[in-house]
Symmetry: C2
Subunit: 399 residues, 2 copies
């Protein structure tokens, strides 16, 4: 018999303030819900909890789509699910791409065997409607246009209206990644005409990572049911999963009960606050934080006018070591922020003010900590100027 290598101690992590690209902090009500004793996955009481969760997800997605449910995997599983259920060998898709997560969409789309036309934009910039139009000129029979609404790697929020219209004019279905916007910025599936969308729970929904809310309208669902080949992944096959989450309760896999408990509670908190109030809160705190950073001499990375309210990206000043600032924040303040991914690694910071973490308290603390970290690096800046600039934003908003 092999024995355990050592005595593993009690779980006692440091209490962090999670202001990175996700996971975000979680309300204690959600943690408590998660620790509720388990029901069976086919228990009538659990089925009611599933139904509540779907209802609440429809509210957060602003949709009446029947096929709205949380996939039993993290946000990336949502991306894989939507693309690999809509695409198949010989299908044609356009993927509009301006960051790591759009790039990932390209990878997934190609794995389905579909032909993929890529629209690429500069890192930190949006996709322009003309680029999408041009892609449809090249691939007029594309059945799917996929894009990222809130690009977590750059902090960009992509305008939706024009590119959806172009796709629909060409008869394509629109698939949208809203991992970093759902629950923190307007996501209006039905009003915008989004045919399929996916998200994660660990960003603005403020629920631990582990589930991927998805929603498909009847057009996308019809596309799924008209497939010529089975979905390549059994685990992510929506034709079976809709029978488990639907009226039939056909056994597919054992739902992650505790995660569903957590999601229901997180969504209940969103419903109590109200989506519009929640969006406004994210917007205000992002504005205040950005104003504070600018007063400190930092420059936002994402294109002006298209910045996410949930994730603020900042260019790292040339004289500053990007990772040492993050280390300082983690060690001296127990604050996590994220660095850049891919081509902007080392060049930007990503500061998440998501869900229950988007508070005035966190904005002020993050500015204070960031100023201290920058000063420690020899980048002379003033915390008080930052706090003042942020306060101006709050005071104006109160008027």
């Amino acid at each position: 018999m092999l024995e355990p290598k050592k005595k593993y101690g009690e779980l006692a992590p440091t209490e962090r303030i999670l202001l990175g690209a996700g996971p975000s902090g979680v309300d204690s009500r959600v943690l408590r819900a998660m620790s509720t004793p388990l029901l069976g996955h086919l228990d009538p009481e659990f089925i009611e909890i599933m139904d509540d969760t779907r209802d609440l997800l429809r509210y957060v997605f602003q949709t009446e789509n029947t096929m709205t449910l949380p996939m039993s995997g993290t946000g990336s599983a949502g991306m894989d699910t939507v693309l690999s259920n809509l695409l198949e060998p010989k299908a044609k898709a356009i993927v509009a791409y301006c960051g790591v997560f759009g790039q990932r969409m390209v990878d997934i789309a190609k794995r389905t065997g579909a032909e993929v036309e890529v629209v690429q934009s500069e890192w930190g910039h949006i996709i322009e409607p003309e680029q999408v139009e041009a892609a449809f000129k090249k691939m007029p029979t594309a059945q799917v246009l996929a894009f990222v609404h809130a690009e977590t790697s750059t902090g960009i929020m992509q305008p939706v209206k024009d590119i959806v219209k172009i796709a629909h004019d060409h008869g394509a279905v629109v698939a949208m990644d809203c991992v970093t916007s759902l629950g923190g910025a307007p996501v209006l599936l039905d009003q915008w005409g989004i045919d399929a969308a996916y998200s994660g729970t660990q960003k603005c929904i403020s629920c631990p990572p582990g589930l991927a809310p998805i929603s498909l309208n009847d057009k996308a669902r019809k596309m799924l049911h008209n497939r010529k080949s089975p979905v390549s992944s059994w685990y992510l096959d929506l034709t079976m999963i809709e029978r488990y989450w639907g009226q039939e309760r056909f056994y597919h896999h054992t739902a992650p009960i505790s995660m569903v408990y957590a999601l229901r509670e997180a969504l209940r908190i969103i419903a109590e606050e109200g989506l519009e109030a929640r969006w406004a809160r994210h917007q205000l705190n992002a504005r205040a934080f950005t104003a504070g950073c600018e007063a400190m001499g930092l420059k936002p990375f994402a294109q002006d006018g298209y910045r996410l309210p949930s994730l603020i990206t900042l260019a790292v000043p040339e004289e500053v070591k990007e990772d040492e600032v993050r280390q300082y924040l983690l060690n001296k303040f127990q604050i996590e922020i994220s660095g850049g991914l891919g081509p902007v690694k080392g060049q930007i910071w990503r500061v998440g003010l998501m869900g229950s973490n988007s508070t005035r308290k966190n904005v002020m603390l993050a500015l204070t900590a960031l100023a201290a970290a920058l000063n420690a690096q020899g980048f002379k800046t003033s915390a008080s100027a930052a706090l003042e600039a942020a306060t101006v934003v709050y005071n104006e908003a109160a008027c």
Copy 2:
């Protein structure tokens, strides 16, 4: 704006005793661990927790395989992962199949594009080595033999030694499903020569559903790295996932932090008890429960000599309505047991005595409740005879 349909009340499920096919009950220490505030998924402290979890999984799997980790999905994701990483178009696989979960393996294996040879046994019976030998005669170049060690749909525990030898003699890699045995019955990957295995957390590990422990040895890993085509599912692609769980910490997806907390705690409890003591406990309680059932006039469904210690299957007497007994147990005793799946639906019950639920207390309570339910159905039986028979088993074991 669409508004929430109603006011969703506080989460307050009935406290069940989960003696079905899974999820099983969870120790309060695990629930508490799960409600620990989150760390970021790349936090140095979380990385240590990941490493502990991998170490402890190696102990439970009885392996030194480097590639041992929990996939971010439920047990079925483990099945999909192992098969879709080992197989690809034009590969050849033999799947030995004697229940719903073996059937599922066939489905998944076919989706990879591999050619699949099926070995089928009667429901409730094991696969005989001769059947596997015959399959290799038909498909001598099969690269993979996949089978289920503990078939959750029938209650059978498959002997491993002979069929592994046959597969290895033919140069094939062996993939084993141990969803319902890991942590409750001997699973000795290295000693048995199993090349790839997967399990779930929600059975004998007594952790909520949501993760799928997997383990691949170097032979299986080499097969993975020698693939000609990419793994069809991006989310389940082990070539990337091993870089996240490995030294490189290459970002793939956001790990389900809270579930990893829960798994680490559940594994810690297993290490404290010791695997051998845990296996003996499962064995004893299963024997006592089965003796009690037989004294009540019920017949075990699974083939004698090959019964799982974690999941006991019982044939439903002809005069009894299968689902009404389950309803009675749920409503009068808050005990969940499971019915049959597939061709044995309505014909068997499945009673799980798994993980922390495998106790003398639960055995005695389940026998009492079952006797009451049967009597309510007009099937005259005696609880006291059942309890006596179980007690004899316990008393003998103490000798």
